[in-house]
Amino acid sequence: MADKIAFDLVSPEQLLLSAEADMVTIPGSEGDMGVMAGHTAVITVLRPGVVTVAGGKEVQRFFVLGGFAEVTQTKLTVLAEEAIAANDLEAHITAVTESLAKATTDSEKSVRQAKLDMLTKLRAHA
């Protein structure tokens, strides 16, 4: 059994998860990457997608809306623009739909609509 890799998932507002994992799959801009301990040092841009954390008792999944990741031999840090735990996605979509209905200005509307589209697309992937 290989060593575990330290994994941090941070968004601008908070540290979402800090854990040891066997393997973490991240949606790199050039394709999904599975990161295990001993990976080459890489800095990559992320596209919107799913981060899967395998290790421990169960597999945890997060949706990230872009960001970037820093990989070193022993540590993986994902700096997500926004990250949502898989279980909260539905609630998030409802919230965004509601706020879209409340939006008054055009710019507000377009921003929220774009976000809703992205979220629904992510849900389709899940």
Partner: protein, 290 residues
């Protein structure tokens, strides 16, 4: 000598004031705690971002063809100052300190013959700057309706700045905010956003990264985001500072009100006793005369 009735009403009104300031202080304490927690939560992201960017930027330093956000657009005639203050008052000298600092910067830049524009974040700063520099203020952003400051709020400002920079509305952008040193002291600080002020990494970390897609593209992706991140952490520090200052100011106000109540109560009792004494004297001398 004030009448007993007027003293009574004054004591009542000062007591009411003390209740209000006390409540304000307690609200500020709990909000300060929340603001500090938000600050702590946001720190890992900002630090990591800074580390990655400074690591990459030092490699690109000598390169004149580097990204504009890092190297600037070659001019420095038009300055944009982003002045962050609070939306509410009753926090001692917090807002005035920031505004005074901003004004010193504006005058200095003007003396150098630069063109200065101001973007106000926070209502109080706008109110104060409007008196002297009404023609320089290009826009104001308020967060009066926002309960808990989110990254989206900062991102909005960041996007605005980037759009303006692309249009060539300014050459250099500086962020002015109060750094949270302690509950008692907040230090007005200027931070250059565009071109990005990158701290030199003194020790080479020795870590060589591969970049995906490639270095310049990663950097192009990160630099705009970094601006929003820096604005976000500045705003969070500002919020913490605001409540720290408010707490201190309201604590002082509560204590002053308490002192005033004591003084007034003393005066009230003395007047009351004086009145009783003089009434007694009148009665006794009246009885003696009989």
């Amino acid at each position: 000598m004030p009448s007993l009735k007027s003293l009574r009403t004054r004591i009542a009104s000062v007591t009411a004031t003390r209740k209000i300031t006390k409540a304000q202080q307690m609200v500020a304490v709990s909000k300060l705690r929340r603001a500090q927690a938000a600050n702590d939560a946001a720190r890992p992201y900002a630090q990591k971002m800074k580390a990655v960017i400074s690591g990459m930027a030092s490699g690109l330093k000598g390169n004149p063809g580097g990204p504009k956000l890092l190297a600037g657009n070659g001019k420095d005639d038009k300055y944009l100052l982003v002045v962050c203050t609070a939306d509410r008052g009753l926090c001692g000298g917090f807002n005035s300190n920031i505004v005074r600092f901003a004004r010193a910067q504006i005058e200095e830049l003007k003396a150098q013959g630069k063109k200065v524009e101001i973007l106000c974040v926070g209502r109080k700063g706008r109110d104060q700057l409007k008196r002297h520099y009404a023609d320089l203020i290009v826009d104001t952003i308020e967060f009066t309706a926002v309960r808990q400051l989110g990254f989206a709020n900062a991102d909005e400002i960041g996007k605005k700045l980037l759009a303006w920079f692309d249009e060539g509305k300014f050459d250099v952008a500086t962020l002015i905010y109060a750094r949270f040193k302690s509950v008692m002291t907040q230090l007005p600080t200027a931070l250059r956003l565009i071109p990005a002020a990158i701290e030199e990494t003194d020790a080479k970390t020795g870590q060589v990264y591969e970049y995906e897609p490639d270095e310049s593209e990663v950097l192009a992706e990160l630099l705009p985001r970094n601006i929003s991140v820096q604005i976000f952490s500045a705003l969070l520090e500002n919020v913490a500072g605001e409540f720290g200052a408010k707490m201190t100011a309201m604590d002082g106000a509560t204590r002053n009100a308490g002192e005033m109540i004591n003084k007034l109560t003393l005066l009230y009792n003395r007047t009351r006793q004086g009145k009783i004494t003089s009434e007694l004297i009148e009665i006794i001398s009246g009885a003696e005369a009989l």
